[in-house]
């Protein structure tokens, strides 16, 4: 076992898969010689050559469009979109082509593209470096949507994504690349060094797609979340003293409904949290599913803590970001009712 931060874990997943499977290729802006603006592909080009780790033109649509063609020709492309905020120029290729190819061709063609992209806020990035657009991908049938919350899961899930014959959009919460984050930007940065999930095998292993995990067992309320907010939820459980059961969704689509509903049936209360804008966000789907399955077990309405329904503001990052205060208020709010 080694100690890795999320960046190293992601890089390691690439390395393991590129060694194991010669059809795995990597493409994206600045991913080659430079190793990626977040260093997630550092050293890969030196090791696997410029024909397998390819610096691409600044064209998200072109990166995804050509990756699809490569996938059809037997390669297994891993495409990096430099920031999730820049995935939209490739949206048509994802929705109309990548997601639909297997279906529309009666199973004859498919393209196993993995699209990796750093998402989320908390890094003073302003509105074009902080977005969390996962919800719109979960609504597109034919795409798997993933977001890890720690190095161990990041590597295991990314290997599963690369091995999957289905297209996967793999979101990386960049705020926790270097260490978990409890929601207080004033505190000194913590590293993954002492975190149990910072212990990551060097070699091949997988974390299966489509399985949520209980990060903290508890009895009073179920908090369903993913990415950076898993850590805020842990901090809020401590801060509020409420015995929270925290579930890390990990794969947003297809969703592991049973793990979620089993928990809510047990606790009778539920709070859902994500960074993205609340209106029409992924939390809405979680809420809708849970109220349906757990209606007779719920003691209070399901709460949502999410980004406000505004673009991501630079100056008000900590009023916008669903941090410790908001998460705690959300917990208390759900606990207080009835």
């Amino acid at each position: 076992m080694a100690r890795m931060n999320m960046i190293e874990a992601i890089r390691s997943a690439h390395e393991v898969m590129m060694e194991k499977d010669p059809t795995v290729v990597v493409l994206g802006q600045d991913v080659g010689y430079f190793g990626g603006v977040f260093r997630c592909t550092d050293g890969l080009q030196r090791k696997f050559g410029e024909h397998r780790v390819i610096d691409a033109p600044i064209s998200e649509g072109g990166i995804i469009g050509t990756a699809i063609g490569m996938g059809v020709n037997g390669l297994r492309p891993v495409a990096e979109i430099q920031f999730a905020d820049y995935i939209y120029p490739g949206f048509d290729q994802i929705v109309s082509e990548l997601a639909r190819l297997r279906y529309r061709s009666g199973g004859d063609f498919f393209s196993p593209v993995t699209i990796r992209t750093p998402c989320g806020g908390g890094i003073h990035g302003g509105q074009t470096h902080s977005q969390s657009p996962e919800a719109i991908f979960t609504h597109v049938s034919g795409i798997k949507t993933v977001m890890p919350s720690n190095p161990y899961d990041a590597k295991g899930l990314l290997i599963s994504a690369i091995e999957s014959d289905d297209p996967v959009v793999f979101f990386e919460p960049k705020r926790i690349y270097n260490g978990p984050f409890d929601g207080d930007p004033e505190k000194p940065a913590i590293s993954w060094n002492t975190h149990p999930k910072g212990e990551v095998p060097e070699g091949y292993y997988t974390v299966p797609l489509g399985q949520a995990v209980i990060t903290r067992p508890g009895n009073d309320i179920t908090i369903i979340t993913y990415g950076t907010l898993v850590h805020i939820a842990i901090a809020a459980a401590a801060a509020t003293g409420v015995d929270c059961e925290i579930i890390d969704v990990r794969t947003m689509a297809p969703l592991d409904v049973v793990t979620l509903t089993d928990s809510v049936k047990k606790t009778g209360r539920c709070l859902i949290a994500h960074e993205a804008t609340q209106f029409g966000g992924y939390g809405a789907e979680l809420t809708a599913t849970i109220q349906k399955e757990c209606f007779y077990d719920l003691e209070a309405p399901i709460g949502r803590v999410a980004g406000w329904d505004t673009p991501y503001p630079h100056a008000f990052e900590w009023q916008y970001f669903p941090g410790l205060k908001r998460m705690s208020a959300g917990i208390n709010n759900v606990m207080e009712q009835e």
Binding site: A56, G61, G62, G69, D92, E97, R102, G106
Partner: protein, 413 residues
Amino acid sequence: MTTKSRLHIPQPNARPGDKPDFSYLNLAPAGSADKPGTDARTRDIEFLSSGLVRVLDDDHVAKGPWNPDFDATQLQVGLRWMLLNRVFDERMWQIQRQGRISFYMQATGEEAVSIAQGMALRPGDMCFPSYRNQGLFMYRGVKLVDMMCQCLSNTRDMCQGRQLPIMYHSKSGNVFSISGNLGTQYPHAVGWAMASAIKGEDHIAATWVGDGSTAEADFHHALTFAAVYQAPVILNIVNNQWAISTFQGTAGGERRPFAARGLGLGIPGIRVDGNDLLAVYAVTTWAAERARHGRGPTLIELVTYRGGAHSTSDDPSKYRPKDEWAAFPLGDPIERLKQHMISQGSWSEKKHEQLTTELKKEVKAAWKEAQQYGTMTEGPWLNPATMFDDVFANQPRNLETQCHRMLEIESGD
């Protein structure tokens, strides 16, 4: 806003009621275009993008350096498949008009594109077609009955009932799945070609897009990536003068031919008489050789005319002169090849008639067979449960549940 607008509005030369006017087409005599070697430098072949490669002249004589010197068999192969394409389209159009399929699109007048290019490529080369490349599917071995079953969304449909008619694909024939979204296939072809190069294989890719669709982003993405990585790909623009109701000027064709679109990236372009099977074959072979020898992409503009309506949903008399096709100076590709063959002595009106009858029979028989696999009104039917397959490689839980629910509701709750 009292002052006069200074915006330039592209105007077709003729609208309904006007006399057709193709004076804007920059034609060149057959045989007049030079044929550079496939190893010529990009700069030295730029002239091909503004000229027009033609082999068959107005008297149906094959001429000049681009003449592929087809023997009688090759000529007959070309003619047969173009004619089959035409006959098939006519029948399917009728069938749609009778309400027996929901939608159809013809390639009328553009058959030389698919057939000549099909002939010029190797079976291992991968094609990324647009919706007017049905000829390519036929030529590459897809059975007529299978194409018809696709249009019927019946139990033998290669798409399992999931797509609008004409959205064919052929895994074994190396023809990619047609998309309803214009132009998306262009970067796929480039990516496929890049993969071929990465793997050190010598298969190339070819793709087709309409004049109108060149305005889409994917066109630019494909050209950029093809140029940067010198992908072994042939990028075809089928300039049939119209994009539904807008003429090719609305897509930016007023000032320079579409063949010139890649020059700024160093992609050589060739403008070719798209209704001349021999010329199309020749330029495609040439471009394929360039690609196969690591000389990168070639852009081919095929100058042709959309002889029919855009689709069964369209009525072109609303926006263009009724007799425009008849006035198109590059004529009809089938008629031209036929006359060439007749003048060569290897063909006759009688043979042509026989062939036509034969092909009509073939198509008729295929339709009869296709219907046995189900029609819009009669079974056998596809199992609706299959609607939930192939969304993913393996069916996730939510789709399983929904499938059960659907069957429950269909069976009356």
